[in-house]
């Protein structure tokens, strides 16, 4: 039944069916293309990648020659051999994850609280921190690199210090031996990634914080709760579920996170598992002669997924079960 002013219109079954058909037709027309794209480029591609991990291709082609576990054996051989590419890539991925969580996510929550409380210059910070999410990532990384290379050098000169060219992207190990991953280049890349992660976090956290009833905040203020206690006992529990989502997402992408390295260009000396796979995929697909190597990187992807999936689910369960609650 549909009300039209003060007139009640009764529709026949045929008209109802037609209406339903139109509604469904509209929904289907909107979701059809994205659904097809999802099926081909997500489900199809991932299934293909899974099967490729157990295949061997004929030379110079993607024709399957045999089904085998050799790719995993080769992966193990590369892992345990003298070449430390994979080990360093893993270390870098874990280091990036650690910094993102300890520094990026905690700062994200704190910055969001600062903005939520409308502290001095909060609008300015909101814009600056969200800007990397709006501006093209290519432009952002170039601007960042220009600043880190030329800007930092200019600032150092003001203080009477002359830095060597490319100082902030030096690949020389800061601590540890020659195979250490800790270089100024890595730190510069990680700082960039932490900075660009703030935008989405602030958007989500401030939104979640805005959902806290005003009465709860006021009651806390009346009881003499200071900012720290308000944050810890009221705000954090309210945004905990959002925090868990972000943390879970960070864990899920440990092995696929490229840390924007493809925008930084060659020569950073920084490599993550995700970037390692990307770079080799790009190299392989440019020359048919390299096609048989595709299966090796599929195996690497499967191995990483086998590790990431249980950890992600486990951490999520733990955080949900033992994290603070609004009660």
């Amino acid at each position: 039944m549909e009300n039209l002013s003060n007139v009640t219109v009764v529709k026949s079954d045929g008209q109802m069916k037609k209406q339903k058909l139109k509604t469904w037709g509209f929904y289907i027309s909107v979701v059809a293309l994205p659904l097809i794209q999802f099926c081909i480029f997500y489900i199809g591609v991932n299934f293909n990648s899974f099967f490729m991990a157990f295949q061997q291709f004929k030379p110079n082609s993607m024709v399957v020659e045999s089904w085998t576990f050799d790719n995993f054996r080769e992966l193990y051989r590369q892992w345990s051999g003298v070449d430390i590419t994979l080990k360093n890539a893993l270390k870098t991925s874990l280091f990036g994850f650690g910094v993102n969580v300890l520094l990026g996510m905690t700062s994200g929550v704190l910055f969001s609280y600062y903005i939520f409380k409308k502290m001095p210059l909060y609008s300015f910070f909101k814009i600056v921190l969200f800007m990397p999410s709006i501006i093209s990532s290519m432009v952002m990384t170039m601007a960042y690199q220009y600043f880190m290379i030329d800007g930092v050098t200019a600032i150092a000169e003001v203080f009477g210090k002359t830095l060597e060219p490319g100082y902030m992207f030096s690949t020389k190990a800061l601590i540890g031996g020659e195979s250490s991953i800790i270089t100024r280049s890595l730190l510069s890349v990680v700082i960039y990634n932490v900075w660009v992660s703030f935008g989405t976090q602030i958007l989500m956290y401030v939104g979640a914080m805005s959902g806290i009833p005003e009465g709860t905040i006021e009651a806390g203020q009346i009881d003499g709760v200071n900012a720290i206690r308000e944050f810890w006992h009221i705000v954090l529990p309210s945004v905990w579920s959002t925090f868990v989502v972000f943390l879970t997402a960070q864990i899920a992408v440990i092995f696929t996170n490229q840390m924007s390295l493809m925008n930084f260009g060659a020569g950073t000396g920084v490599n993550t598992i995700g970037y390692h796979i990307f770079k080799n995929m790009e190299r392989i697909t440019r020359k048919a002669g390299n096609y048989p190597e595709l299966t090796l990187y599929s195996a690497l992807g499967i191995a990483c997924s086998a590790i990431a999936i249980p950890i992600t689910l486990g951490v999520r369960w733990l955080l949900t079960k033992f994290g603070p609650s609004e009660e």
């Binding site: 509209f26 027309s29 909107v30 293309l33 994205p34 794209q37 030379p59 110079n60 082609s61 051989r77 051999g81 003298v82 070449d83 430390i84 590419t85 360093n88 890539a89 170039m142 690199q145 220009y146 290379i149 060219p165 490319g166 992207f169 030096s170 690949t171 020389k172 190990a173 020659e178 195979s179 930084f264 260009g265 060659a266 020569g267 950073t268 000396g269 920084v270 490599n271 390692h276 190299r283 697909t285 440019r286 020359k287 048919a288 002669g289 390299n290 048989p292 190597e293």
Partner: protein
């Protein structure tokens, strides 16, 4: 009203989502050129790269004129050639059936893979046919006659031709001849009156440079022959380092530049140094693995007491090792790999690398601009002087924008007026060894591997009709007539691995083009069909990605390893063979 607006917005958004469907279907259409319905269209696919398309356009007009009376279907007369953009072969192979191009010139195309999948038309008869008909009797030979036996093998599948060479380019150093002349960076000949044109001086006490007063004659250069294109250029590693030192002293800046953003060009540079140091025989070994005896490095004798191996100090195993019967590590013990790393280490350690090479924001185009502006007499503000650019020989085409921009302010800076040159890589020989080689007429030639994946071929999927196919094959044949080959080289400053004369056309080329082509024409080209053994072991043999070292991640480029002092070239070299101790050949 609100409902209507909502519905309208939903409709517009749905249409916007459908825009992604434009990626489906035929790719690479050229929508710029209007179709002439009175003529038969011939679509030519060309990959977008640094070679440009002016070479194709130069020949296109002549072909259309030659075929102005061509009787097409439906009463059409004449042919209209339309150039489309196509992808590189690695990507194109999956969409070749949707591409309208009938003749294709592209790169990264493995002939065996394409021909076996029926993605190329058999052109054997055409390649062996006389060109007399197409050239009004000016040429009587065939396209096949223009290629050596080794080169021919690259374009055959099952003994028959399926493609022809598109281009072969090289990687190395470019320099500004005027800058060298102006600043007196050319090496002087030791005793020109006595017939000794090797460089005057030595590494210990220094070399002499042409100054127009005491020293007026240039040395013979890397080819060991006076009065040739490379006169005055460094012939040995020591001479090269001396020239760099002189440049640094005079200009105050480090002479060698590559784009920091494309620092992985270093791998190509190392590859070029290695193949030049190795020579034709060893490079051919990597293709065929025929039982070629080759000595390998076992150590070094520290003759000059500096605790590291230099040129002429390596100890080579007297007894030869059959690489195929052993393990892959022996391949990586060849001295050429050490010399390539040694050269890179020296130019870094001696401080000859321009700061831009370590700048992640300097792209390859930025480096080209820097080189063009840094080598003029008064570089504009913001550009240091620089002397040598590490790039592929195709860079001149890529830098057209910068030539044009500079040319607008100063005629002398236009592409056709710049006096740039291709610098042959020096030899890993001591000065004494080089002099002996000159005296015995045994100076090694420069060596280049032919790019066997840059191909021109006919697409069978768009030439199903015999008439269409014949026209496409005729066009491909036309592009390999003498005049069309000359067009290619004149327009791109690049070459094809074929024999053709540039007599009468040299004046149309830029100085850089002339310099590069004259050098390339004297070089040894390594070609030949790769053996089944080589194909099976392609993962081990993939060249440029294998410059890494034991104990260092592959992601740290050799240039960074040396810059940061992580390893010496000697350690790096030994690390490479150590890595391969764990491998076995796939037989």
């Amino acid at each position: 009203m609100k409902k209507l607006f909502t519905k309208l917005m939903c409709f517009v958004l749905s249409i916007a989502c459908l825009l992604t469907a434009t990626a489906c279907g035929e790719g690479g259409k050229n929508t710029g050129e209007a179709i002439d319905e009175s003529k038969t269209q011939l679509y030519v696919g060309l990959v977008s790269n640094g070679y440009g398309k002016s070479w194709l356009e130069a020949a296109e007009g002549r072909f259309q004129e030659l075929y102005k009376d061509y009787q097409g279907e439906g009463g059409k007369q004449g042919v209209q050639v339309i150039i489309d953009n196509v992808a590189y072969g690695g990507t194109l192979i999956s969409s070749i059936q949707n591409v309208r191009a009938q003749v294709i010139f592209t790169g990264e195309t493995v002939l065996n893979n394409w021909a076996s999948a029926n993605h190329m038309v058999n052109i054997d008869a055409m390649v062996k046919e006389s060109l007399s008909g197409l050239t009004n009797g000016e040429e009587t030979g065939s396209i096949e006659d223009k290629m050596t036996e080794d080169v021919r093998a690259l374009y055959k599948y099952n003994g028959e031709y399926y493609a022809l060479p598109y281009v072969t380019s090289a990687f190395g150093l470019s320099y500004d001849k005027d800058m060298f002349e102006r600043n007196k960076f050319y090496l002087a000949a030791a005793d020109p009156e006595g017939g000794d044109y090797t460089a005057s001086g030595d590494a210990t006490f220094g070399y002499d440079f042409v100054d127009g007063e005491m020293f007026t004659v240039k040395s013979s250069g890397p080819d060991g022959i006076p009065d040739t294109e490379d006169d005055g250029l460094p012939a040995t590693y020591d001479q090269f380092f001396a020239v760099c030192a002189e440049i640094k002293t005079v200009t105050g800046v480090n002479p060698i530049l590559w784009g920091g953003r494309v620092e992985d060009y270093i791998k190509s540079f190392l590859g070029a140094l290695q193949e030049n140091a190795a020579g034709k025989d060893f490079e051919a070994l990597k293709r065929t693995f025929n039982d070629v005896d080759t000595p390998f490095v076992t150590g070094y004798t520290d003759l000059n007491g500096n605790n590291k191996p230099d040129v002429g100090e390596l100890t080579l195993e007297d007894t030869v090792e059959d690489i195929v019967s052993g393990t892959p590590e022996y391949l990586w013990k060849h001295e050429s790999f050490f010399y390539a790393l040694y050269f890179l280490e020296e130019i870094i350690d001696r401080g000859y690398i321009h700061s831009g090479s370590w700048d992640n924001t300097l792209s390859h185009l930025g480096a080209q601009e820097y080189f063009l502006k840094g080598t003029v007499e008064n570089p504009p503000k913001g550009f240091d002087k620089v002397a040598m650019l590490v790039e592929g020989s195709y860079w001149e085409n890529e830098a057209t924008l910068y030539f044009n921009a500079m040319g607008r302010n100063n005629e002398e800076h236009k592409k056709e007026n710049r006096n740039l040159g291709w610098m042959p890589l020096p030899h890993p020989l001591t000065d004494e060894a080089f002099k002996d080689a000159v005296d015995n007429d045994a100076v090694p030639n420069a060596t280049y591997n032919v790019m066997d994946t840059a191909l021109g071929f006919v697409n069978p999927h768009t030439t199903t009709n015999t008439k269409q196919r014949d026209l496409a094959v005729d066009f491909l044949q036309f592009m390999y007539t003498e005049e069309a080959l000359q067009d290619f080289t004149v327009e791109t400053s690049l070459t094809r691995p074929m024999s053709y004369s540039l007599e009468g056309r040299w004046d149309e080329m830029t100085e850089f083009g002339k310099s590069y082509v004259k050098h390339f024409q004297k070089a040894d080209l390594v070609a030949g069909q790769k053996s089944e053994f080589t194909s099976k072991n392609s993962i081990i043999l993939s060249s440029y990605d294998n410059f890494y070292t034991s104990g260092i991640s592959k992601e740290k480029l050799p240039s960074r390893v040396f810059k940061d002092g992580d390893k010496t070239a000697w350690q790096y070299f030994n690390g490479m063979s150590t890595y391969y101790q764990g491998y076995s050949w796939i037989r």
